[in-house]
């Protein structure tokens, strides 16, 4: 029996084995497949939904608050003005704080999810699965970085953007969008910083420390211990540049710079933070490439 299905590019031969005669796509498309599978692995596990749920709660609180404020403003402007004093939302600072909180939840999520997303590839042969296909090592690296970046964006940037749009839409006019362009660049900028730094850092750590418990300890230790060390060193000799050791704060300072709400006179300035984070990213990338290159597809 022989049947031609040119539209599907498949052809049945006499023994029930179909051949495929399509034109292969560029290997860069495979990065999107890696992202899709990575997100599926995270969102399929209920354990991660506890942390995602926390982020969702925070988002829903802000979402409801904006709606409540808009509703009250129609009835009584004084109440709206009273609520504005708390700066829960609507200003650059408020969005920066919201994203900071979301990023903290995201860091916790990544601490556990990285073992599944990246660590498992080293522990259980997933790397060999990927690298024995048509794609190269850079496609794999880019695919995984995009996956982590997508998780960070889903938890931090997209909710912040939704809140921004909601706030502008529920205000009396669309003037809010025109008056606050810096908020939009702030959300996108801070989101990009979080996505780039966190994805490179967690990839490098998970590649070298693939097991869950050591990975969680290293990842959280990196932020908590370094911040503690930075504070301690600053307390000892009073030099504020020691604060640069706290990577989490560096990201926050840069984020505030994107929102235009960073006190430029305060040391360390945004340039220093950018330099430190850039160095961290470069080191992470070198570590990632080194680790990925060391994987033997043929044992």
């Amino acid at each position: 029996m022989s049947s031609q299905e040119p539209s599907a590019g498949l052809q049945l031969d006499h023994a029930g084995y179909r051949t495929w005669v399509g034109e292969p796509r560029s290997s860069w498309w495979s990065c999107l497949s890696i992202v899709r599978v990575g997100l599926m692995l995270i969102f399929r596990r209920w354990i991660f939904w506890i942390l995602i749920g926390l982020g969702l709660l925070n988002f829903l609180f802000h979402f409801a608050f904006i709606y409540l404020k808009a509703t009250l403003a129609v009835q009584n402007e004084n109440i709206a003005r009273f609520l504005d004093r708390y700066k829960v939302t609507g200003t650059g600072d408020a969005y920066a704080e919201f994203m900071f909180a979301q990023a903290t939840i995201c860091a916790l999520l990544l601490a556990f999810a990285a073992s599944t997303l990246i660590g498992g590839d080293y522990r259980q042969g997933g790397m060999i699965f990927y690298l024995s296909r048509r794609i190269g090592r850079w496609h794999y690296i880019v695919g995984k970085l995009l996956t982590v970046g997508a998780v960070v964006t889903i938890v931090t940037t997209i909710p912040a953007l939704i809140l921004f749009i909601e706030y502008g839409t529920l205000s009396n006019s669309f003037q809010y969008f025109l008056d606050h362009p810096r908020i939009l660049t702030g959300i996108l900028g801070y989101g990009a910083i979080l996505a780039i730094v966190q994805s490179l850092l967690i990839f490098a750590i998970a590649a070298w420390v693939p097991r869950t418990v050591p990975l969680v300890m290293t990842w959280l230790g990196l932020f908590v211990l370094l911040k503690g060390l930075a504070d301690a060193m600053r307390a000892i000799d009073g030099n504020r540049y020691w604060l640069l050791l706290g990577l989490w704060d560096d990201m926050h300072r840069l984020g505030r710079f994107c929102f235009g709400s960073l006190d430029e006179k305060k040391i360390p300035s945004a340039e220093y933070c950018l330099a430190v984070l850039s160095a961290v990213c470069v080191i992470s990338l070198v570590l990632i490439v080194q680790r990925v290159r060391a994987v033997e597809v043929v044992s």
Binding site: A8, G9, L10, D13, H14, A15, G16, Y17, R18, T19, W20, V21, G22, P24, R25, S26, S27, W29, S30, S33, I34, V37, M40, L41, R44, R45, T116, G120, D121, Q124, G125, G126, I128, F129, Y130, L131, S132, R133, R134, I135, G136, E296, V297, V298, S299
Partner: protein, 333 residues
Amino acid sequence: MSNDPVSLASSSVDEPPSLIELTHLSHFYGKFQALKDVSLSVQPGAIGLIGQNGAGKSTLLKILLGLMVPTSGTGTILGRNLLRQQGELRGRIGFMPEAESLIPGMRGVDLVGLAGELSGMPRRQALRRAHEVLSYLELDEVRYRRCDDYSVGMKQRLKLAAALVHDPDLLLLDEPTAGLDPQGRDAMLRLLHAIASRHGKSLILSTHLLGDIDRVCKQVIIMDRGTVLGCGRIGDLRQHWQGRYRIRWREPELRADNPDDGQSFLAILRRACPVVTATQRDSEALIEVPEGWNNQRLFEMAIQSGVVLSDIVPEEEDLPRLYHRLIGTGEVN
């Protein structure tokens, strides 16, 4: 040791174009030379790759897969340049690694579909073909199960499905029967044989198990310490020993009470032939007859000692003997 392989894959005009053609391929890891001036040519079909640990098999596989560029030399696979068309080549090659290479948490069908996408197939077609390949490999009933829950045999077949999903022209199989029980091994070998013989796929089977190669492959590449010692059709590489026979006899039932008859037949044989080796089985011997010998004499000797000859088979080299002869260990003998 000579670097010239015993190559019998002639380039006659009747033969199809070579599947793999390597010319003076060498590779160094630092100062260690893993491949030494390897030149070979194999035709499409099932090809066995044998060699001890450190023979250079893995390095050769990596180069064939396009994962590594050789230090020197060149070659073509499926008519494509090994050095310049690596990406294109990998799209036409399916690789089944020896190591466990699955993504925990994924369902069988998703995993095979992903393998198709990573090989350049559009998502819908990859998924459709994943279902077909899993059915072909008799994994259709477990396709929605997470691959961590598969048995060893199922995992091996799943790896094969992932290698086959994009319909490659050449399959590279690294120890495909590793960890399988005898039944699983038998099933896997039958499957590989069918893929090679019915569907016209070429495959390179890298294994330590000579029996696997004997069952599936028509051609073989024998490697030792970075060199190719033999390459070509197994039948052509086999030494056809002139004048070597395996003979079997039996004593007539009426005279079975005299066990010395077989021994005396052996003694007569030893007087007539320069080399007679009694095998471990009773009433069987390997003989090497002198030039100008007529097998009629065997029957005369049998009548003389009162036994009946049941078999006279010209002795041919089997794969283990061929392998050990080429690598020079002579272990079988």
